[in-house]
Subunit: 312 residues, 2 copies
């Protein structure tokens, strides 16, 4: 990466920023060096994960949080990996990006990512895009993802605090998310709290919290919002800020970042091992042998063992 | 694996079957040999993936399909990786397994799998459990998974046909699933079709189908059901059987299985490479170096590169 490019990025040149993110998404060969050079500059932003089931109103909530952050003169980047979300506003079968009111504000940068074609690498890609945006010096990075699914859960494992958003109808989703994002939730939001059932969901969350209190450093707060009306947003943002300050002071954020770094290095080692293994010779050995392996009814594990022994 | 154990399995000994699945889930060291021996016996079952958003009624649908299969004297195994589903009946925050009416029928075997703690390996684990059940000689294996999320989508990539279930309220989910399970859907079900909105969803699906018809071998049928009332189940099962027969005849199922085998071998190679790399020496090198790497602001990719170069 030329220092010129890095300078443009540090000066918040949106055109350069968008180009780099596209290069990351396309997996351009030349991108890894760039990612390495900007990584040291990506560490100052506080990262907030926002997750929850489809239809919980995460995008509206984020839109209102941006307003709140801007009112305090903060800068913010958003990476959204929920395909129904944010720019698209959940429009049914509409892929069109609806530009929103923040798009002309240089202190705000929003990027929606499709999940198509990134099998196995969605979490890595999201972390990289968040790094690129953070390297422009944004105060906050919000990472939004639909909170159902394993790869999606992994995405919010690389942030400083996690906000989990439900709606009064989310009973089933709470069950689904128990083994995932809820375990790492630091703040719980019940959005659309004017609807029937908010009390019940609040009670379910409290029960869940007291069941799991032994595994937690602190008891997450539950905040009621009506994002479309802007209700509860100020309180939510205040709680985010208070909590981030507390967790910085207690060393928790440092601890989390260290763990995240370790886990990213491990995953990068696995990617590197796979990338080095599959050169074109080995690829052609695989393609030559695969039919025979299948016909001999070798299990995939025997086949893999054989390939690694022979070629490794 | 002793041939005795394999025999018990082939004779549908449920106790042995359940024990083996638990060993697979626990990742017992001794299990890989067993999986290798039973793999050749796991290939006769036809595999049906059933996927869809939470609350689509997949578990009720499967319950009714089991009745249908039993009425034809078929045998069936179910692997369910939707944590709200089937045995638990979607009971809110209730982890208790509610035994159902099929549990005493030796021709039916149902296994629910939690997704907790299987990060990165959920698809592999599901494939293994499906293999183990299939090796008892079941005619059909149904693999159920919540159709939101990348790892979850991978799960249904290892079946012969995929049924995607929606409800009239599923507009948002259709959007989310477009880049995932919908691309591999062979039959679409609109369950709870008595509710308002069924026509609209049906239209959305038809639009989607005609948009993507160029990428498809055939146009998937849309079937309306009311699973709780048993309505449409016979038609759904008839369509599953017809389609499987057609796809067997056209060679499509063979082609899919070949691709699935290739993909499983590739993934097993990656697992094997990672497993061989992380011996205890390398693990301790990592733990010794990680703090320094972080302090030098090495990106995870530089750190990984360095580790693989040094240790590989």
């Amino acid at each position: 990466m030329t220092s010129e490019l890095l300078n443009s990025l540090r000066q918040n040149d949106t055109r350069v920023l968008s180009g780099l993110i596209s290069a990351v998404e396309n997996g351009d060969d030349t991108i890894s060096e760039t990612l390495n050079s900007l990584f040291p500059h990506s560490r100052d932003s506080l990262r907030i994960g926002i997750t929850g089931p489809p239809g919980a109103g995460k995008s509206t909530l984020i839109d209102k949080l941006i307003v709140q952050i801007r009112a305090e003169d903060g800068t913010v980047g958003v990476v959204s990996v929920d395909p129904t979300s944010f720019f698209s506003g959940g429009a049914l079968l509409g892929d069109r990006v609806r530009m929103n009111r923040h798009s002309l504000d240089p202190a705000v940068y929003v990027r929606s990512m499709g999940s198509r074609g990134h099998t196995g690498g969605l979490a890595r890609l999201t972390h990289q895009v968040a790094d690129v945006i953070a390297s422009t010096g944004k105060d906050y990075i919000i990472v939004e993802t639909v909170g159902v699914g394993q790869a999606e859960t992994e995405i919010v494992l690389n942030v400083d605090i996690v906000v989990v958003v439900f709606v009064p109808e989310s009973g089933d989703e709470i069950q689904i998310m128990k083994a995932g994002p809820m375990e790492v939730g630091d703040i719980f939001v019940i959005n659309k709290a004017d609807r029937a059932g908010a009390d019940r969901i609040s009670q379910l969350l409290q029960d869940y919290m007291s069941d799991s209190s032994g595994q937690r450093e602190f008891v997450p707060q539950i905040i009621l919002t009506e994002a479309t009306e802007g209700k509860g947003i100020e309180q939510l943002w205040a709680q985010c800020r208070t909590l981030m300050a507390e967790l910085q002071q207690s060393g928790t954020i440092r601890k989390r970042r260290n763990e995240q770094y370790l886990s990213r290095v491990r995953n990068a080692v696995h990617d590197e091992l796979a990338a080095r293994f599959w050169n074109s010779d080995r690829e052609s050995v695989l393609m030559k042998q695969i039919d025979g392996m299948r016909e001999r009814h070798l299990s995939p594990y025997e086949a893999a063992d054989q390939l690694v022994n022979e070629l490794g």
